[in-house]
């Protein structure tokens, strides 16, 4: 497993990939590439299920560049006789692993969401609107990225696994150079493509309250803000925030409807949302019929509490 890290901290995704690796079975070794990776490898060694944590220390490993990391992963994979090479299905793993797979002449499995055997996996296609079960060839090895949303993070081990420094003789290219990293923009994600959306309805009562109640929750969840037709018509927010049949039709992983009763027109806009949370004071509101989690009560208390504790 290739472990991602930044500023001395192992990425949260690693523990989830470990969980997927446990489902595959066998020994699990995590490797981190760094300039001095002992400490961060130590964090990987503390994850339950990890049998060994390796670190490859080279000056070239200061920044995560696929073209630089791939030859090292390939060298380790070949030398170590590994059956599987895994990484997280985030931008790090998606950038790196196909480069590794091609060099190993292996057809990669992207976004594993379930493990059936050492070679059989489920993965989403068509933006998750269909799921395929695939059978990968065992030889020379299986290369796969893991869909993080499909796995729980593995816990902390009682006793940390051993940490070992390793080296490779891989030739590293100089044709790819890191320039800079600008941290995530603070702007909210785009409503149409956001993986999380929080929406407010007429129950918020005013434009001021809409902002005051919805924005902290959106900030906390990293979510886009949407609204019901009623809220838009009442002037609480801009019309481009409207979710529903005549507004935007969205399919986020998480949708939180606050003070939205759930008119048919609104539901038409969210029926592809993976998980719907509804907070409403009316227990008979139709939104609860489609919600995965329903919470009845005063949104002016519950939403700020949610924002604080989430």
């Amino acid at each position: 497993m290739v472990g991602q890290h930044a500023e001395g901290k192992l990425d949260n995704g690693v523990a989830k990939v470990v969980c997927a690796a446990k489902a595959v079975g066998g020994d699990i070794e995590v490797v981190v590439f760094a300039t001095a990776g002992a400490a961060v490898a130590g964090q990987a060694a503390a994850i339950e299920g990890v049998t060994k944590a390796l670190h490859v220390d080279r000056a070239e490993n200061e920044h995560p560049l696929a073209a630089v990391l791939a030859p090292q992963v390939v060298a380790l994979a070949k030398a170590g006789g590994y059956t599987h090479v895994l990484a997280a299905g985030n931008t790090f793993g998606k950038d790196l692993l196909p480069r590794v797979a091609a060099l190993l002449d292996v057809q990669q499995v992207s976004d594993v969401m379930a493990v059936h055997s050492t070679t059989s996996f489920d993965r989403p296609i068509y933006a998750g609107n269909a799921i395929v079960t695939v059978e990968a060839m065992a030889a020379p090895c299986v290369v796969a990225t893991v869909r993080l949303a499909s796995f729980q993070a593995a816990g902390t081990a009682g006793a940390a696994a051993p940490v070992e420094a390793v080296s490779t003789d891989a030739q590293l290219p100089a044709h790819t150079r890191f320039v800079s990293l600008a941290a995530q923009k603070s702007e909210r994600p785009d409503l149409q493509s956001a993986t999380r959306v929080v929406s407010g309805g007429r129950a918020l009562g005013s434009a001021e309250k809409f902002k005051e109640v919805m924005e902290p929750l959106a900030d906390k969840l990293g979510a886009a803000i949407g609204a019901s037709r009623a809220a838009v018509d009442s002037g609480y927010c801009a019309s481009d925030m409207q979710v529903g049949q005549t507004g935007k039709i969205i399919a986020p992983e998480l949708y939180v409807a606050c003070g939205i009763s759930g008119a048919i027109q609104h539901l038409a806009g969210i029926k592809d949302a993976r998980t719907i949370v509804a907070i409403n004071k009316d227990p008979d509101a139709p939104i609860f019929e489609v919600a995965d989690f329903g919470l009845v009560g005063d949104l002016f208390q519950l939403v700020p509490e949610f924002a604080q504790k989430a």
């Binding site: 998606k94 196909p98 480069r99 044709h175 329903g294 919470l295």
Partner: protein, 248 residues
Amino acid sequence: MKALVSVKRVVDYNVRIQVKPDGSGVATDGVKMSMNPFDEIAMEEAVRLKEKGVVSEIVAVTVGSAKCVETLRTALAFGADRAIHVVEEGEVQPLVAAKALVAVCGKENPDLFLLGKQAIDDDANQTGQMVAALLDRPQATFASKVEIAGTKATVTREVDAGLQTIEIDLPAVITVDLRLNEPRYLKLPDIMKAKRKPVENTTLGDLGVQAAGGLKIVKTASPAARSKGVMVKTVDELIAGLKNKGLL
């Protein structure tokens, strides 16, 4: 400077796909097909670079069935000068596509290889990286800004941590993300002109690429239906539930 842009024919973005009842795949008969939207962005970028005078020739390429010539015509309407069609009627997985594209690169020697970060049908997100690996050339995936100066490109990439900027030597592979540009409308005169632009046919065999291998697709299923929701009593219960689903 020559740009090669690979384009894929996929089920149109707006189509709600249906899984075949026998689990053998997704129904595509009579379904509207279009160019992969990310590849449209790659085409647009190539055309903009040509308009700026950076690129002098754009070659579009696709690997797929005879029908894919329509996608090449669309690329030609965008502004590609000519096209190459690697005709393969069977399923083409990313590694095979990459090997075919590498073979095409061997003949064309492009300075820039542009393509979408992923196709919206298989969502694999592999082909560009594989081409770069097999060519032993730089890759800049998830590009949201591309600047070319001489034999170097400076590319801003949309990564989870924010915006990473890298500098790469050309020739290089760039896979494009949504925010790089907004593809233009195809002008009608260009649509008609595309009919007369040359499309060269070749096959995997001609290119010395074996179609075999890869993943075996065992079955295709619809995602699990929405399970009956639960009513929670407190915010804590809600948060516990969301954490349990891996959403928090």
